[in-house]
C-alpha cells in the first residue's frame, strides 16, 4: 500500500486537521515550515552542544547500572560455569536462548525499516530509520552475547569458525547451530556497515558545523572526507540501494536460520514447518514495538514531533497489526497441526503448553500478543494516541518475550518419558543477565543519541519541498561517460 493512500475519514475533526497537508489532504510525514537549514540546525544541535540534558545522565546511570550488573553476572558465570543458570535436564535451553531470539527479533525491525521500506519507496521511514538501525546493532550486540556465554567455555568460542587448527578438526556444516554463526555474524557485519555508510554524509555536516576542535577532528575522521560530490552521491545511492537489496533477504534468512535451530530438531513443539515465516513475522512485530518504545520518549524529550510525526506512529501501528495477524496465524496453525497431525506427542505437547503447570505463560502470550493489540490497533484514534501506543509497545515486547519462553520451555519440560519430566525456574543469575542486557542496550542507545546523528539529515532533506527541481528540466544529450 502506498503511504499516499492515507486520508482521514473525518476531515472536519480539528485534531486531525492539524496533521493534514492542505495541498494533498493527506497526513504529513514532516511538519510544515521545515527548511534545509532548520532541520540541520535542529538535528545537529542535539549532538553539537556542550550541554548534555540532566535527564540523559539520569537514564544513563540507570542503563550503566544495568550494564554493570550484566558484567558482574557474566563474570560469575565465567568463574562457575553455566551451572549457575537454571538450565538442566529436561529444560536444557533456558533464558539464554529465549533472550537470544528475542533480541535478534527486535533487531529485525531496524533492518526492515531501513532496507525493505526503502525498496518499497516508503518515504515516511526516513525520520525513523537511523535510530531503528542503531536499535538493530545494539540488539544484535545483546543477542550475540548469549550463544557465546552459553557455550560454557567462551574463550574457546572461536572453535565455531572454520580455521586450520593444529588439531585438524573442522566444523560440521550440517548443523543449524553452525548456520547461526554465519547468519548472525553476517547480520551484525552488514548492519554495522549499512549504518555507518548511511551516517557518512551526516558526519560531514557535523564536521562542517562543529565549533570545537576535537569534534571537528572526530567527525572529520568519521566522515572520511565526504564533500557531497554528485559523482560520489550517485555511487553512494547505488551502494545504499544494493545494501538494502542485500539486507532484505538477509534479515529474512537470519530469523529463518534461527527458527531452524528449533524446527530441524525432532521435538514436538519445535519440529514445525510454520516456524520460519512465523518467526520472521514475530521478529518484525516485536521490533516495531521496540521502535515505538524508543521513538515515543525520544521525540518528546528532544522535541522532534515535527520530524517523527503522528503519521509515523500510526504507520507503525498498522505494520504491527499486520504482522500481529501473521503471528496469530502461526499460533493457530500450531494448534491445528497438533490436532491434524494425529500425533499423540504433538497433541499432548499442545495440551500441556496451554493447560499444563506452566500454561500461565501461554495465556500471558495470548493476552499480550493477540488479545490486547489485535483488538485495539484497528482504531485510528488509538493508533495516534501516544500514551496508548507506548503502552501497546510494552505489551507486545512482553508478549514476544513470552512467546520465546513458551516455545523453548513448554516444549521441553515434559518430554516423551514421564519419568524425566521436570520444570524450569530461572535463577537470579538468569534474571540479572537478562535485565543487564536491557541496561546495556539502554546505555549504548543513549551514547548513540548523544554522539551520533539519530535522524538522517541527508535523507530528510530530499523530502522537503525545497528539494523539488522546478521547472522540470529536459534531460541533457545522450550518455557519454560514467566511471
Amino acid at each position: 500500500m502506498a503511504t499516499t493512500d492515507l486520508k482521514p475519514k473525518n476531515p472536519k475533526d480539528p485534531h486531525r486537521v492539524a496533521g493534514l497537508d492542505p495541498l494533498t489532504g493527506e497526513y504529513r510525514v514532516i511538519a510544515p515550515g521545515q527548511t534545509f537549514k532548520s532541520i540541520t540546525v535542529k538535528i545537529a544541535g542535539i549532538v553539537l552542544t556542550p550541554n548534555t540534558p540532566l535527564g540523559w545522565f539520569a537514564l544513563f546511570s540507570v542503563g550503566g547500572a544495568g550494564a554493570t550488573m550484566l558484567l558482574t553476572a557474566v563474570t560469575w558465570l565465567f568463574l562457575k560455569g553455566t551451572g549457575i543458570w537454571a538450565v538442566t535436564q529436561p529444560v536444557a535451553w533456558g533464558f539464554a536462548i529465549i533472550n537470544f531470539v528475542w533480541w535478534i527479533g527486535i533487531g529485525h525491525a531496524g533492518t526492515l525499516i531501513s532496507a525493505i521500506l526503502l525498496l518499497f519507496k516508503q518515504g515516511w521511514r526516513n525520520s525513523i530509520n537511523r535510530f531503528a538501525e542503531a536499535m538493530t546493532i545494539f540488539a544484535v550486540v545483546c543477542a550475540g552475547m548469549f550463544p557465546l556465554i552459553h557455550v560454557g567455555r567462551p574463550w574457546l568460542g572461536y572453535w565455531l569458525l572454520p580455521y586450520p587448527s593444529t588439531m585438524n578438526v573442522w566444523p560440521q556444516f550440517r548443523s543449524p547451530l553452525l548456520w547461526d554463526v554465519f547468519a548472525v555474524s553476517t547480520y551484525a557485519t552488514i548492519s554495522v556497515v549499512f549504518w555507518y555508510i548511511g551516517m557518512i554524509p551526516d558526519f560531514a555536516t557535523f564536521r562542517d558545523r562543529a565549533e570545537n576542535k576535537f569534534a571537528q577532528y572526530f567527525y572529520g575522521m568519521l566522515a572520511l572526507g565526504w564533500r557531497g560530490s554528485t559523482r560520489h552521491w550517485m555511487r553512494y545511492e547505488t551502494a545504499s540501494l544494493l545494501l538494502s537489496g542485500l539486507a532484505t533477504p538477509l534479515v529474512l534468512s537470519v530469523h529463518t536460520v534461527i527458527s531452524f535451530d528449533f524446527a530441524v530438531a525432532i521435538l514436538p513443539g519445535w519440529h514445525t514447518t510454520i516456524f520460519p515465516p512465523y518467526f520472521v513475522a514475530g521478529a518484525i512485530y516485536s521490533g516495531f514495538a521496540m521502535v515505538l518504545t524508543l521513538a515515543i520518549p525520544l521525540r518528546k524529550f528532544y522535541h522532534l514531533e515535527g520530524l517523527v510525526t503522528d503519521r509515523h506512529i500510526d504507520n507503525m501501528g498498522k505494520v504491527m497489526l499486520a504482522t500481529g495477524f501473521i503471528v496469530c496465524y502461526g499460533y493457530a496453525m500450531e494448534a491445528f497441526m497438533a490436532w491434524y497431525s494425529a500425533s499423540h506427542w504433538e497433541a499432548f505437547m499442545f495440551w500441556n503448553r496451554a493447560f499444563g503447570p506452566m500454561g500461565w505463560s501461554y495465556w500471558v502470550l495470548v493476552t499480550c500478543n493477540l488479545a490486547i493489540p489485535l483488538t485495539t490497533l484497528w482504531s485510528r484514534k488509538l493508533r495516534t494516541s501516544i500514551p496508548f501506543m507506548f503502552f501497546i509497545s510494552i505489551v507486545v515486547n512482553t508478549g514476544m518475550w513470552f512467546e520465546r519462553f513458551v516455545i523453548v520451555v513448554t516444549s521441553l519440560y515434559r518430554d516423551f518419558l514421564p519419568s524425566s519430566w521436570g520444570t524450569y525456574r530461572a535463577t537470579k543469575w538468569d534474571y540479572m543477565i537478562y535485565v543487564g542486557t536491557l541496561g546495556l542496550f539502554t546505555a549504548l542507545f543513549l551514547l548513540f543519541v548523544r554522539f551520533l546523528p539519530m535522524i538522517p539529515m541527508n535523507e530528510i532533506r530530499t523530502m522537503l519541498p525545497g528539494a523539488k527541481i522546478t521547472p522540470k528540466i529536459a534531460p541533457a544529450q545522450p550518455a557519454e561517460a560514467g566511471d
Binding site: F36, K37, T40, P162, V169, W170, P171, F173, R174, W179, F182, A183, T186, I190, V193, F194, Y196, I197, P201, A204, T205, D208, R209, L224, G225, W226, R227, G228, S229, T230, R231, H232, W233, M234, R235, Y236, E237, T238, A239, L242, L243, L246, L250, S253, V257, E459, R461, T462, G466, A467, K468, I469, P471, I473, A476, Q477, A479, A481, G482, D483
Partner: protein, 180 residues
Amino acid sequence: MPPREGTYGILAEFDTPSDLVRAAQQARLDGWRRMDCYTPYPVEEAAEAIGFHRNKVPLVTLVGGLMGLAAMFSLETWISVLAYPLNIAGRPTYSWPAFIIPAYEWTILWAGLSAAFGMLALNGLPSLYHPLFNAPNFRNGASTDKFFLCLEALDPKFDLIETRAYLATLSPVSVVEVEY
C-alpha cells in the same frame, strides 16, 4: 596525478537545487566536461546534467557476491568431503542442501562489503584533504543548504578570467577561485 599547486577550479554557489541543475546543464551544453556539483543531499538531476549516468558499484557488488558464494561453498565441500568427513546419521558427506545456507550468508556478506568498500574506493575516499575545503564558503553550506558547481582547471576550456566571467552569467550567489 593532478598538479598540487595553483588553481583547482572555480566554484559557483547557488541557493536552490534548481538553479544548480540549470547552471550545470548549461555548462555541459557549452562544452565543459571537467566539472562537478556539490550538494547536501543526492540530486539525481545534477548527475544527469553533468553527464554522469552509470557507475561500477553494481558490478563490484556482483563480483564480490559471487566470490563469497564460491569461497564458502567450496570451503564447505572441501571440509566435509576431503578434510574432515564425518558420518552424521548416515547423511552423505556432500550434503549440498545444508551447505547452501552458510554459502548464501557469505554471498550477502561479501556482496555487502564489496558494495560499501567498493563505493568508497571508487569515490576515492577516505581522503581527508581536498582543495575544495579551502574555498571560504564551501564548508559553510555544502553539507547544509547550499549548492555548488565547480569548473575544474584541468578542463581544456579553463581560463582563470574567462571562466570566472562565464560562471557569473549563470546567476550564482557567488563565484570564488579554489586553490590547492
